[in-house]
């Protein structure tokens, strides 16, 4: 059978298959009686309607069609499905108002859904009396500042006001004036959430500098607006989590970095070892650190000079040597040495390293370790004949490496259309190297997910053609 070149033929074919998943894949391009036929195929049996209402891949148009359902179990699943589109959420809310006896738990699900239109969130915020639903609105990241302000007024006398303020403090939509409003009379955790908020005003940062609570300090110290003096004070904090956060602050001075390089806490030194502004003296100190995780972070750091990488490549800990091999600036000479490392995890890092040249990949392709061969399969410098050989590996991870390799050519990938692992066949549907006729070959795949993805791909392709 030829590949349908228009939506109508694709839909007719989907109807002919009688396959619920294929029907779902083409639903959005179906019109008129064809669409009705698809819907009766998908929703005719209650178990299929329930399945589609819950499935994480169900297309939005199908969920939209399902939102007219009067089946409470279907409605509950739609309310919980993160893909349920905005219009369907409106339908579900209207149904709640009109048809059913108002269910508090369903309203709460609508209130927390990220596709619920702002008009409905506003309606819940203004008129609903269920505290849990109001709390759910305050948690919803798509809510706007106006709705949050309405809630602020209504929740002020509620016994859940503290919890509400915490949600507002963590909500990305909260504006700086609202943050200022909730900061002063809140507990330390809420103040800390306010301080870490992207919209936190400078005035609060300056105020928080005098806050003694360690929970607040931990959030405060990562703020780039802190002055050198404040950072110098926080470096001396007794709390290692505070010092750890200071160590990641981009505004840290050279003097303070020097101080933290010798910090008592391993966690602090690990944080320092990953910084992009280390001096030669810092690096010298950290490369001999007693904690191998510190040396590992240093070995991964792209600013580290070649000489240091050479030294770290001799480290007794395989994790450190592996980190050297993963360093984007690791010289080829070092990769050559590490490709012969006794530890397969180190050799694997060389195999995954995109800088590793073709001749190195030829040697690593002789390895027997699955992680090393997975790296070889992933590497863009691996020759096609090696990739072709790896497509016959009994190890799924290795075959998957070939599929993920952007340089794998069509002829290399073709045998993988018969791969026993369904996920591999599914991944190939999106491959830019395969032709349409190769993908169409998967339309009768025994796995329902593969069939769904194939038809969805062809629907999207037809849509692109129409747009062009």
């Amino acid at each position: 059978m030829g590949i349908p070149d228009n939506a109508d033929d694709l839909v007719k074919l989907a109807i002919k298959t009688g396959d619920v998943y294929i029907a779902a894949a083409v639903h959005k391009v179906a019109i008129g009686s064809d669409r009705k036929q698809l819907e009766s195929l998908m929703f005719g049996k209650r178990r299929n309607a329930l399945m589609l209402a819950r499935w994480e891949h169900t297309p939005a148009s199908v969920l939209q069609a399902l939102s007219n359902s009067t089946d409470r179990a279907v409605v509950l699943r739609l309310d919980k499905n993160p893909n349920t589109p905005s219009q369907a959420m409106s339908n579900l809310y209207a149904e709640e108002e009109d048809g059913f006896k108002r269910s508090l738990s369903l309203t709460m699900l609508i209130a927390q859904h990220q596709h619920t239109p702002i008009s409905i969130l506003e309606c819940i915020a203004k008129f609903d009396n269920d505290i849990e639903s109001l709390i759910a609105v305050s948690r919803n990241p798509t809510v706007n500042a106006d709705v949050l302000r309405v809630l602020m007024g209504r929740m002020a006398t509620s016994h859940k006001f503290e919890l509400f303020k915490k949600n507002v403090a963590a909500n990305p939509s909260t504006t700086s004036d609202l943050l200022e409003e909730i900061y002063s009379e809140s507990d330390a955790y809420t103040r800390a959430a306010v301080i870490s908020h992207a919209n936190c005003p400078r005035s609060l940062i300056e105020h928080a500098v005098n806050d003694d609570d360690v929970v607040v300090m931990r959030q405060l110290v990562v703020d780039k607006r802190l002055t050198k003096d404040v950072l110098a004070r926080l470096v001396l904090s007794k709390d290692k989590a505070v010092r750890c956060s200071v160590a990641s602050n981009l505004a840290l001075t050279k003097m303070l970095i020097k101080q933290l390089v010798r910090d008592d806490s391993n966690a602090v030194r690990r944080e320092i070892a990953a910084r992009a502004d280390l001096t030669a003296a810092n690096i010298k100190c950290l490369m001999s650190d007693s904690d191998h995780w510190v040396r590992m972070w240093l070995a991964r750091n792209p600013i580290v000079p070649r000489k240091v990488l050479e030294r770290l490549s001799l480290d007794q800990h395989a994790d450190v040597r592996r980190a050297v091999a993963r360093n984007p600036r690791c010289p080829i000479g070092l990769l050559k040495i590490l490709a012969k490392d006794e530890n397969s995890w180190v050799r694997s890092a060389v195999a995954y390293q995109h800088k590793s040249p073709k001749r190195l990949m030829l040697g690593l392709a002789e390895d027997t370790d699955v992680d090393v061969l997975s790296g070889v399969a992933n590497n863009p410098h691996t020759p096609q004949r090696i990739l072709q050989k790896l497509t016959t590996s009994p190890e799924a991870d290795i075959r998957r490496g070939v599929i993920l390799n952007n340089k794998a050519r069509r002829n290399t990938l073709l045998p993988l259309l018969e791969d026993p692992y369904y996920l591999h066949r599914l991944m190939l549907v999106d491959s830019s190297k395969l032709k349409e006729k190769d993908k169409w070959h998967l339309r009768n795949d025994p796995d329902f997910q593969v069939r769904f993805v194939v038809f969805k791909w062809f629907v999207n392709r037809l849509n692109k053609v129409i747009v062009q």
């Binding site: 049996k45 209650r46 178990r47 329930l50 399945m51 819950r54 179990a73 509950l76 699943r77 919980k80 919890l163 915490k166 403090a169 963590a170 955790y189 809420t190 800390a192 959430a193 929970v215 931990r218 959030q219 799924a396 018969e418 026993p420 692992y421 369904y422 795949d445 025994p446």
Partner: protein
């Protein structure tokens, strides 16, 4: 030489479901069916023996259930099983694990295998007794929770390792034929090849009645079972509580709870 592998199509559930009006089970529309996870490992163990043996070995899968069970049996055929048998009669409805064991034993007597494998338990009912009751009806030796098997086809005994508490293994020599219930992780189950799936679609599944294995309706069903389900229900919620607050606050509370449990 023959290995009989008893498999079951189990039901899985989502978080939202309804109980049937009579309270006996979950409403059918909410059940999704698949091959029992343990049975994948049992079949793989049989296939490993078949593929590494010099002698001809037939792997036969058997299941008890209505038409829908064919889908799971075809999955087994696609993975390399030679034959599939499905036993069903409406009288079987309501049978407990012991009655199911009686039917499987009757099939085994007819098939005369050298070994019978079953999963340790089914993921939906978890009685963990079907394999053992099969052995009892056959009057064969049995071993449960088998995590390793050394068996040479035709040999009068096998060496198995059974998984015990505390990470211990118990090495046992067992006379054959025997019934073994296979534990998860004993091997790495294969995926069926596309060719295998296509071939399996064309293979017949032998439909066997109770009479075919020398049983009658009086031998099975709820009346002949030693246990009967009275009701299924969701118990009242226990002491679980949602941890509320900011992320840092939730983390602090979790640490506090862990420390309380540790006695710190």
């Amino acid at each position: 030489m023959k290995i009989l592998v008893a498999v079951k199509q189990v039901a899985t559930l989502d978080e939202d479901f309804e109980i049937r009006a009579n309270g006996s089970d979950v409403e059918e529309d909410f059940l999704l069916y698949d091959l029992n996870e343990w049975d994948d490992f049992s079949l793989e163990e049989a296939m490993k023996i078949k593929e590494s043996s010099d002698v001809e070995i037939e792997v036969v899968v058997v299941s008890i259930g209505p038409d829908r069970v064919d889908e799971s049996l075809r999955k087994c055929l696609a993975k390399g099983a030679d034959r599939a048998i499905r036993v069903w009669d409406d009288a079987i409805e309501g049978s407990d694990a012991i009655a199911i064991g009686r039917i499987l034993a009757a099939v085994a007597q007819k098939e005369a295998p050298d070994m019978v494998f079953a999963g340790v338990q089914s993921s939906d009912q978890a009685y963990a007794s079907t394999g053992i009751s099969t052995a009892a009806y056959l009057d064969w030796p049995h071993a449960a929770v088998v995590a390793d098997l050394q068996y040479k086809p035709g040999s009068g005994s096998a060496v198995i390792r059974r998984e015990l508490e505390g990470g211990m293994l118990q090495e046992v020599e067992i006379n054959c034929p025997a019934v073994l219930t296979i534990q998860l992780g004993i091997n790495k189950p294969r995926y069926a090849s596309l060719r295998g799936i296509k071939q399996a679609a064309a293979k017949p599944i032998e439909e066997v009645s109770l009479a075919d294995v020398g049983l009658t309706g009086a031998d099975v069903g709820a009346d002949s079972s030693m246990s009967r389900v009275r009701r299924m229900y969701i118990p009242a919620k226990g002491r679980a509580q949602m941890i509320e607050g900011t992320i840092a606050e939730q983390a602090a509370r979790l640490i506090q709870i862990i420390n309380e449990f540790k006695g710190a």
